[in-house]
Symmetry: C2
Subunit: 349 residues, 2 copies
């Protein structure tokens, strides 16, 4: 029998399976490499009283964004914000970014200037410096790769792995709205394809579009928690959907969790659109993705303090690993939480 | 008259013009951002006795590499090395890298494992840690974006801007061979297209292929210079061709330069292939690119010491800015050096 060459499709493993497969055997040889792959940012100990944090993200045209409805300035802004969000979710402060782009000849200098206007606006808004990057041509479309560098005082670092049984599970802001904003844009794209003279109808849904097109990182939440002297035990930003992030935190912290459907923070505009689209609001909150809110855990004792924080919702609590990850429905039914996540396919449902 | 929308083609500006246009107005707001865009790596002052260095590069299929002749393991290795080279050229030591990839469904898990074998091999060889990254799908082809993080003692930092009039201009290794390796691969590709049964003929040219497919970063040169107590006044790695890099150093250092054709280090194998291809060896040395050798300047007093270093060639000296950048030909003729550089088009000549 001839040798067989294995050909495994990437989709069989999924993003996280693939990362495990490619980097699972990586060991850290430098003393300065404190935390490597497996958290929102890598942690580097430069021998200073602060750790250096490094996070990186790649956005690909046709996968993460569609030029039909994403203004370039917004895209530049969002590309920066999603990276900063990873630094904040380690309880850190971003300081620098590098921005690399690959562009096809379809993009004019003026178009790229728009993109960089958004990049610079985000830098200004979050107080970070654009310190480097790479500019190259691509065969098709636009690819943006950003690396964010930040810092955190050593005793303030928060990882995914610190959650304990009985810790409260908290999320900032509301969930699902960025995903619903995307659904809305996709619907209007389809309408436009059929009849290019139709004006897109976004009335009343500005909030959802903004959540999708121009998200903000929750540095305000990080600041507020510091003022309240609350240090989360674990933290992660919600980029792939609450459900997926809970799986990451539970896996890293070696716990299970229970969350309550009725506690999920969902905006009224999101609920309206869900009715129109015949979607379950809880499903978009759990699996939507791109919210860039913070998911974190705090000790039970912090309950009184955290209640006062209007941007925060307590949605459940951590439990023993053996109890698994579950959602308690409004009627009391219990369902197991699936790490469905969000594959950043704009046509995924 | 209706408003006119400006549409400037990116090619009108070229890579460096585009970078200037997009990032020219960027100012640094954080005290820790010591040096931003415009050197091989950004320099960050974390308040430590060492600076943190950050460099990033993006490689795009069909632009920087052709899967027809680049083995994936080599590609992974090279993608890491070109980034480390930027850290060494600041006289620093790389410690960590992040690797982000966007891949189309044409790539199997096994193919990506090959790519990461190369990444890990380079990490091992150069003592760096893979600490993070991003893995995503692409619409077409493969994109690799790597960020390297390193460190340098504050008083050891070498930038592009420190060269002085009369400083000696030095290069490590030999020049032009990586470019010639690429020409060879391109020729055999064309032969293969015409007749897929033809075996590629690389006999005697292994060195050139290795220079193109598996370059090494010159950390050995950095180490040797340290042992000799020579601190370069300016340094840059030769990724876009000697001519282009000299322009960067002269511009940053506010000087001109004179280099001598007869001093250019060109390997005998390169000269043979140039004869076969009817190319001028000096042209491939000046404009070839992808050599990843170091170009640096040292004070005149270092001449005796540097002569002892067999990996180094002194090719000329810096001069007053008003004298411009010139090449003294073998017959004594003087030509002005053009910043032609290398646009990483595999089909460029």
């Amino acid at each position: 029998m001839a040798d067989q060459i294995n050909k495994t499709d990437v989709s069989e493993l999924g993003e996280f399976g693939l990362i495990d497969k490619l980097t699972g055997a990586v060991s850290l040889r430098n003393k300065s490499s404190k935390i490597g792959i497996g958290d929102d940012a890598a942690v580097i100990d430069t021998g200073n009283e602060k750790y250096t944090l490094v996070s990186t993200d790649m956005l690909v045209e046709g996968v993460h964004f569609n030029m039909m409805y994403v203004p370039l300035k917004h895209l530049g802004y969002k590309a920066v914000v999603v990276n900063l969000s990873d630094i904040y979710s380690m309880n850190g402060t971003p300081k620098q970014i590098t921005v690399s782009i690959a562009v096809s000849n379809r993009y004019t200098v003026e178009a790229l200037e728009e993109l960089y206007k958004g990049v610079n606006l985000a830098c200004e808004r979050y107080g970070v410096d654009l310190v480097g990057g790479d500019t190259t041509s691509s065969v098709s479309g636009l690819v943006i790769s950003i690396t964010a560098i930040g810092e955190v005082e050593k005793d303030k670092l928060v990882c995914r792995s610190g959650a304990k049984e009985n810790d409260l599970i908290c999320v900032s802001g509301d969930l699902g709205s960025a995903y619903l904003g995307l659904q809305l844009l996709e619907r209007e794209k389809e309408v436009y394809k059929v009849n290019p003279n139709m004006k897109p109808d976004f009335s009343g849904y500005d909030y959802l579009l903004e959540r999708q097109l121009k998200p903000e990182a929750r540095n305000d939440v990080i600041e507020e928690l510091k003022k309240q002297y609350i240090k989360p035990t674990a933290m992660i930003d919600i980029s792939d959907g609450l459900s997926s992030e809970l799986h990451h935190v539970c896996l890293s912290s070696n716990t299970g969790c229970k969350i309550f459907e009725e506690k999920l923070p969902i905006d009224s505009v999101s609920i309206s659109l869900c009715e129109e689209f015949n979607l379950e609001p809880a499903v978009s909150a759990l699996n939507g993705g791109e919210d860039y809110e913070l998911l974190f855990t705090v000790p039970l004792e912090a309950h009184e303090k955290i209640k006062k924080n209007v941007s925060i919702s307590v949605i459940g609590h951590m439990c023993e690993k053996s109890e698994g990850l579950s959602l308690i429905g409004k009627s009391g039914g219990v369902v197991s939480l699936k790490a469905r996540g969000w594959n950043h396919q704009s046509d995924a449902d």
